[in-house]
Each structure stands twice: as C-alpha cells, then as structure tokens.
Symmetry: C2
Subunit: 570 residues, 2 copies
C-alpha cells in the first residue's frame, strides 16, 4: 500500500475545496485522470468481476474508525481506482446479460455532473426553481404516454401546482409503495367523524368501515416490493394474495375472478376489503405482461384501485409497436415506471403516475418551515423529503435519444432476445422456458438425451413417469445450480439464476438461468460465445450427473434425491 | 429559440453513445464546456435566483409530449444551460443561508462521475461487488461514532454479512421510516402462533397483544417525516403524540414522563402500546438537541424503542467538542444521519444505524431472483430495492476532509452563527429567538421602539399588557411576512421563514426568519451585508405598520387585527 501524503488541515485549504476553481485546470486535470481510469476499466479484457474473493475484498475495507487527518484528493482517487473501480462489477459489459442493469449512454455522466453541481433539492421551490418545472414536464410526458388524455388536459395540468400527475421517487419500490399508500387511503377515506386511515391508523379504519382485513391481489410473479409495501402499510404480508399464472406467466384471469368472488362472500371472520388489484407490465422474472384490459374491467366491477407495476416494461409504451401489449393500462388508477431500466438511466429513479391528478391529495402534507400548504412545492406530495434533481436524466435522454431512438434500442433488444432463444434451441442441450415479451428469457441447461427422455415420459402420462419427471427435474436443478456457480468462476459472461414454479412443469420448482437482453452492444456473436461456454461447462458438469440420470431412467435403485443432494449443495 | 439540428436515428449512432469513446476527446470537450458553464453560473454576480417569474418559467417547460426525434447532445446541453442552469437556485452561494443546502466541495462532482460510470446497483453483490464493502465500512464508521462499541465489536461486524449495523437510504425520511418500521415490528413481534405484525398486519397485531392503539412520542419540534411514517406504518398520524418543549426548544422531560404515565394507565378504551420515543439531535427549525440521556433512561424504564433523529446534527459527533451535546445517544436503539447535510454531500443520502446489529433482521426479506436468503446482499435489509452507490461520497469525503477538517468546518459554522447573532443583537431592530446549538438561528425584525414596548409590557404582566403583546406580535408577524417577501424580490440573499410557537411568547405563534449557517464561504462581511439589507428593507416596510403600532400602544381604537390583515395578506 502506498503511504498517503499527510496534509495539514486549515480552513483556507478547506474553503478552496468549496469553490469551483477560477481557472478550472485543476478540476479538469482530475476529470481527465478519472475519464481515463473509467475508460481503462471498460476496455479491460477478461472477466466481469476481478478475481478477488469476497473474504479478500473484505480485508480491503476493514478500517473500523473514521479517518482522522485529511488526505489529498488525488490520493483518495488513487485509492478508489485501486480498491473500488478495479473490483467493481462490469455491469455495462455486453457479456453481462444477467440483470436489468445495462450499459448507459456516456452523456449520463455529464448530466450527473450538472445535477451535483447545481445540487438542487426538489422538495421545495426555494431550493429547486427550474428543476421543479423540469420534473413536472417529465411526469406529464410519461403520464400522457400511459393515459393519453389529450392536449387540453395536459396543457391545463402540466405545470398546475395544485395537483400532481405523479411523483419522481428514488426507485420502483418507493413508486409501488406510493401507489399502494394512495390506494389504502382511498379505501379508508375520511367519512363523517372518522378522519381517515391516515389520521386514525389501520385498526380503527377497519373497525369504522366494518372490515376484518384488507388485502392486495397480484399474480405469483409479483415483485417482492409488493409484499414489502404490504408490511410497511400495516396490511401484513399474509394479506398479499397470490394468484396463479397461465402458461405465459400472466395472471390467470379466471382464478382472479374466482378469488375475488370468494373474498366478497362474508365469512365467519368478517368482511374483506380489496385495497388494490395489481397488474404487472413486465414481470421481473419473465418479462411477461398481464392482461391489463381484463384486469381493468375486473377492478372496475370490484370497485377497487387498479395499480399497474410497469417498473420494468413501462418505457416500452414509448414505441408504437409495443403499445398493444399494454392494452388497458390507460384504465389503471396508478402506474409505476423505472428510469434506470428501459430508459437506460444510471441508478436510480422511479416514477409513479396517477390517472386522476387529484389522487395524490390523499397523501398531501405540509409543514411550516419547508412546504407550506399553499406552496408550489413538489414535496407536498412525496413520501421522501430531500430529493436530488434526478429527473434531468430521463428528461434529457428522451430529448437526445427520442422516441425513435428508443424504438431502435428496443428493436435491438428484441433481436438479441430472439437470437439467444434461437441459439439455445439450436444447440440441443438447452430448454427455453418462456415466450419472452420484454427482453427477458429464462432457460436451463439440459442435455439432449435428458430432454428427449422427459418428453417421452410426458407423453406417457403415467404416475410412474410423473414421478420420474420430478426426480429428473431435481437432478437438472442441481446441475444448473452447479453450472451457474461454475459460470461465475469462469467469469467471461454473466446470466442470473432463479428458482420458480415453471409453467411447463408446475407445480414443481425449476432452477432457471435468466438473461436480460437490453445492452445494445450485445450482438449475436457475443451470444454465440456465451452459449458455447455454457454448453461446454454444462457438459463437463453433466458427467458427474450422468450416472444418476441413467439409474433414474432405469427406474430402479436407491432414493435418487440422496444422490442429487451432493451436487446441489456443492 | 435556436433551431435544433435534426439528426437521423440509426443504431450505429446510438451504439456509440453507449461506449466511452476510445479517445475520450469528445467526452472531455463536453466536460470542459460543462465545467465552464457551471463555473460561470457560480461566478455570476447578482441574485440567488434569476429574475424570471414562476408563470414565465412554466412556459419554458410546457411541452406536453415526449420528443419524437433524437437531438444532438450539444443542443440539449445548450438547452439545459439556457433554460435550467440559468434559472436554478444558487444554493451554494455564501448569501444563501436559508436552508440546509450548502455549497459542496467540488470533488463531489468527480465522485458522482465515478458513481454514474460504474452504475453499480447496491441491492445485491452480483451488481455491486467492492461497493457493497464500501457501504458496510462507511456504516461501521458512523455506527462507531454513535455507539462506540470497541475494536472487537467492529472487527467482528464491519464486514459480517449475517447482520447489518445499519442501512444507507435515499434520505432522512426513509431513514426515520426504517427505524420506526423496525420499532413497530419489535413491538409486535412473532409470538406463539401469531406470526408478527409484519405478516398479520396492524389490526391483528393490536388484538393479539391486547392493545387498542400504538403511539409514538416526540417533541413539538419533531420533523414532519415522523407523522408521514406514522401514516405509512398504519399507526395513524393522530397517534404521534407531541410533547411540549422547554425554553431551549428541547423536549420537556417532565411532561414526557407525565404523558407516559397517563398512557400506561389503562383507560376505558383499552391499553396503549408505546412503539417508540423519539429524541431529536438537531431540530430542523432551531438546531436544538433533546436531553438524550434522560430520554434513554425513560425509554429503558418504559421498555420501548428509543430512536434518535440526528439527520441534521448527527455528523457533529465527529468532533469531540460537540460530543457532550449528544450524551446518551449511545443508548439509543436507532439513530439517523443525513450525508447531504453536515457531511456536505450533494443530494441526497441518509443512514439509519441500529445499536443491536441483529435488529434489522426484523425486516429482512428475500426473493429468489435477486436476494437469496443466504446471500451477502445488502438489499436483504433495506426498504428500497435498486440503490445507487451514493455511499462513495461520504466515504471519500471523510477521507479527504477527515475528522479534523470537519472540525474546522463546524468551528467556522459556529463562528458564523455567533457572528450573525451578534450583528443582529447589535443592530437593535432584531430579536434573536433561540440559543443556537447547531448552526441554526431564528430571529425576527422588530424595530427597537417596539421591542422596548414589548419588554415594558412583559414586566408589567397585566391582562391588558398580555393582550397588547399578542396584538403587537400579530402586527410584527405581518411585518416579517412582508419583509420576507420583499427580501425574495431583493434577491441578494436568502433566509427562510417559518411560523412557530416561540418559547418566548408561547402559546402564540410567531413568524420568524431562519438562518442555517454552514457554508464555509459565508464570512462576517457577508453577514453584515445581509443584516444591513434586512434592516433597510424592514424599516421601509415598518413605515406602513407604524401607525397601527402607535394606535395599539395607546390601547384605544378599533380592532387592530382588522388593520393588520391588510399587510399580512399583501
């Protein structure tokens, strides 16, 4: 480790740190070094991660007390380079196709510089003048995309500070939380002497309205932020009711109707209030979009809040050819969209939109010193207090890339998804497990011979075959877990892994690999390489599993789960 | 308006946006332009705000639909310069002393560049390798500052992924919300067949434990995020019980004890659960620190969660000479601190710390595809999902500035606060209204003659004098509102305004000006200028109010509030 040069603290030195230098040479010198460092990092060949292990890494960050003396900026930047940048994840690599984190356009870095330099606090107009207007303009754009209410509506409301078409929030979880908070307040609104759930709390609200509990309905593919919200809001996670999905990973509309009928029958334990029905427009695991049109009808009949979690897919509405997927979304009461997903912004920013521009009044609040009741402050409507000027990023990006540009990016993402599916299907040793709608493909490694055998058993339909299918699936689950771990060690590419009730083999849980294909730099050659690597390593691991499989196929021998357990836990 | 050059969308052009240029010239060219633009903005003489009115500004941002075609980066940057930067609030100006938003050190802009370029998502290790460790290290530093548990504790826990010493969150509101969520879960924990409030919801939890309601106790100076949290958590805003403050704006310990005794008596309506007692370490309005030591004792006796909202003041614990103010904080169960306040980071980042490293397990969650149960992912413990690598800013800043450097910055802030108080007291036409503890001073403009008269009436103590004091205070309230509006028009400086039950005149509400003195570039000459301006404009406005005052002093005439109303609403 290099010995950092000691510097002497004095106020004059510190004050200079707070001034943008008169001649910005010093700043530009640092800026250039930084850009080169970032450039080098992205250009490095080799792995997605550095080779360092987590225990080794933990020793680089084990100083247990705040540093006492100041250090030179360049020394600390050097430390950041050697200890942090070097050991960061190359989420922008075209070989990193495992999560929703992609490469971002480089102009985003320029925008972050502006945001930091201006350091506006969006909570109120006294600390965010133009930036409050930018925020409203962006929210109106997205609101129009979703709800498309016509010129007059937007001309009237785009900069109308008495209402709010939506909020800019720090991420999708807060966006969903805000939507469900509003849904909850609407469900238990003030009524005569009752001041509303907001003032009186959950227990009194249920008593006042004569309910024994309040629930939220969402498909099994619902994001975990929904259960988090149910906990936060005092509804309880047990009161998030999961509805099964159809073979395309979309909510099963019949089962949804049936569950609602069931809930509406008063049972011994009392009546149930349905606070919200949630549609998903791009599930996190499979990219599927629920039948929003039917859900909107059901929500209307049920007289409940219809929320659409479009955190992943919502931005695709920008492009006409995707619009049909979202049919019915314009009837939602609230919709959430993340800018750091398909708008290609850096971490992190979400938006929650409300069809009725008056809905956010249910949670409006004020305080004397910061957001006065009759002010124009955006902070009146938000859960968060202090907020950065993050909305500049999607605002500028929608100008620089434009609808047309996003259309091309999504087309490319679609092409990558189709390519990967084709390459996997052609290889013969993979099984693709969804019809990808929005750039997410799930699949698993399964040697051709096993695939054939499973298909034969499936046709056969005997109890014995079903039992065998389950056992072989357990084996292949173990194989895919082991493969995924080996791929991490190989580190030339990255896909994620999850376990889910696959629509093909349900109710059995299947371990799947998951690819998210939105990086425009990912091309078919790269995809070929990734699949070749997975196939090569998969076949190598398969050798260990093969004997077990053949024994299973012979339907004889000892309990195969015992044998499987070893590779699974490895 | 300049006509933006049309560009043709094509994928090759778009792809190039996603690549850090091979020779970073283009990027650096933009970067330089940007730096000059920012530099110019800060160097501009004149106002805190541009002269544009809000209605005029709204017309600059009234495009109601997403732009269709792409535009050149430089054109959009030009638009940002002309429409946004120009009309931003100069929160970094040494004349801007009205809110907690100060100048920031310029290296913060470099750090934001790194954060955006790396684009790590802190939710999980697969998208945030080194940065997860940086986060834990920073949290351990702050935890040690507050709870000071000794080397062994921190060596064991600093990088122990089984527990969490705290969370990095997007702002102070989310920090307080996280603390109170944990407090709520602890108060209604799983118990036999009862699965805990988290799973079962608020109503069942109260029933199971035999309570009729759950409350939070905080002084009248509590931040509005506390009532927001009570709403979110299903407790209800009415169940935030406000305790009066003493003459130093600190919670009245006797009244707190009395209220608790009252709550613990079972009344006709059933038993009350005290979910948390909240101490404030730096109230937003006056900077005062509650008697945390006594509150810790009370919380222990009451067997309730003791939370300390140190969002404003917490960072001052870095410096030994402030430590005594926080005596008792080490006995808190949870403490919140904002990095964008006294750590001088840009918007926005908060931290919530838990004395017991196991407390965050109450809200731990997992999901298959992103944060597996046995993973090392920080996202297991957070309310938010996707989170940026914000912790790099305070982490690096604590190295570059160091404890010593922050000590000097706080000393300077203290000096500015003392200076402003002295200048105001010497002027004769102001009344300072608090003994500032952490760099916040509240005061009002009140001509010497009025001040003298109020003092005379105060001594006298007759009913008639009390009535007159109230009436004159109403008059002076109107005067200060008008003064504050005139100061905004003058725009050479900025202080904020609030209305509060002043300890001097309670229960009457007093309009006060509020100065937050943390910008190290604010010097005594600037403070002299600011006060001179306020005095000059105040005296001018006073002319309108003078006749009313003299009529009031004569204690004759018509209802003075009628007369006052005109200037107040002006």
């Amino acid at each position: 480790m290099h010995q950092p040069k000691e510097i002497i603290s004095n106020l004059e030195y510190l004050r200079k740190l707070f001034i943008m230098p008169d001649s910005p040479d010093k700043f530009i010198e640092f800026g250039n070094d930084l850009l080169e460092m970032i450039h080098d990092f992205f250009q490095q060949k080799g792995g997605i991660h550095s080779a360092i292990t987590l225990p080794e890494l933990s020793h680089l960050f084990d100083q247990t007390a705040v540093p006492a003396s100041p250090r030179l900026i360049k020394d600390v930047l050097g430390e950041i380079k050697g200890k942090i940048v070097k050991h960061s994840v190359k989420v922008g690599s075209p070989y990193y196709i495992g999560h929703m984190t992609s490469a971002i356009p480089y102009f985003m870095i320029l925008l972050e510089m502006i945001i930091a330099a201006l350091n506006q606090n969006q909570v109120k107009i006294e600390s965010a003048k133009a930036s409050s207007f930018v925020e409203r303009e962006l929210v109106a754009w997205l609101h129009r995309l979703v709800f498309n209410k016509g010129d007059k509506y937007y001309e009237k409301n785009i900069q109308n500070h008495r209402v709010a078409l939506g909020n800019v929030v720090s991420d999708g979880t807060l966006a969903n939380l805000t939507a469900l908070l509003v849904a909850r307040e609407k469900a238990f609104a003030p009524d005569g002497d009752f001041p509303g759930l907001r003032m009186a709390g959950m227990a009194r609200a249920l008593r006042h309205y004569g309910y024994s509990k309040a629930v939220i309905l969402v498909s099994k593919r619902g994001h975990y932020s929904i259960t988090k919200s149910a906990n936060l809001l005092g509804l309880g996670e047990d009161n998030v009711i999961s509805i099964a999905v159809d073979s395309n990973n979309r909510i099963d509309i019949k089962k949804l109707r049936k569950k609602i009928e069931e809930l509406q029958k008063k049972n011994r334990r009392g009546r149930t209030k349905i606070v919200s029905i949630i549609g998903i427009a791009g599930t996190t695991e499979t990219g599927s979009v629920d039948n929003l049109y039917e859900m909107a009808n059901i929500a209307r009949e049920t007289d409940t809040h219809f929320h659409v979690d479009a955190c992943w897919g919502g931005s695709a509405i920008l492009v006409d050819e995707y619009r049909h997927l979202f049919k019915g979304i314009e009837q939602a009461d609230s919709v959430t969209i993340d800018a750091h997903k398909l708008l290609y912004c850096p971490m992190s920013m979400g938006v929650v939109l409300f069809q009725d521009e008056k809905d956010l009044r249910y949670i409006r609040h004020s305080s004397q010193y910061v957001i006065r009741r009759n002010s124009v402050d955006t902070g009146r409507f938000t859960i968060e207090g202090s907020r950065p000027f993050s909305c500049l990023k999607p605002w500028a990006s929608l100008k620089i890339i434009g609808k047309e540009g996003y259309g091309l990016l999504f087309k490319q993402a679609q092409k990558s998804t189709d390519n990967l599916k084709m390459i996997l299907d052609n290889c013969g040793n993979f099984e693709t497990l969804n019809n990808p709608q929005l750039f997410i493909l799930i699949y698993r490694f399964i040697p051709g011979v096993v695939k054939k055998q499973l298909m034969a058993w499936k046709k056969d339909r005997s109890k014995d075959s079903e039992r065998k299918i389950r056992k072989v699936n357990n084996l292949i689950n173990g194989l895919n877990i082991k493969l995924h771990k080996a791929l991490r060690r190989d580190d030339t590419s990255f896909v994620s892994r999850t376990t889910m009730e696959s629509t093909t083999y349900r109710p059995q849980k299947i371990v799947v690999l998951r690819a998210v294909l939105i990086n425009p730099l990912t091309n078919s050659q790269i995809l070929e390489e990734i699949v070749a690597t997975q196939n090569r390593i998969g076949l190598k691991i398969w050798k260990e599993f093969k004997p077990v499989f053949y024994r299973l196929s012979d339907s004889s021998l000892q309990d195969p789960e015992m044998i499987v357990s070893a590779p699974v836990s490895a």
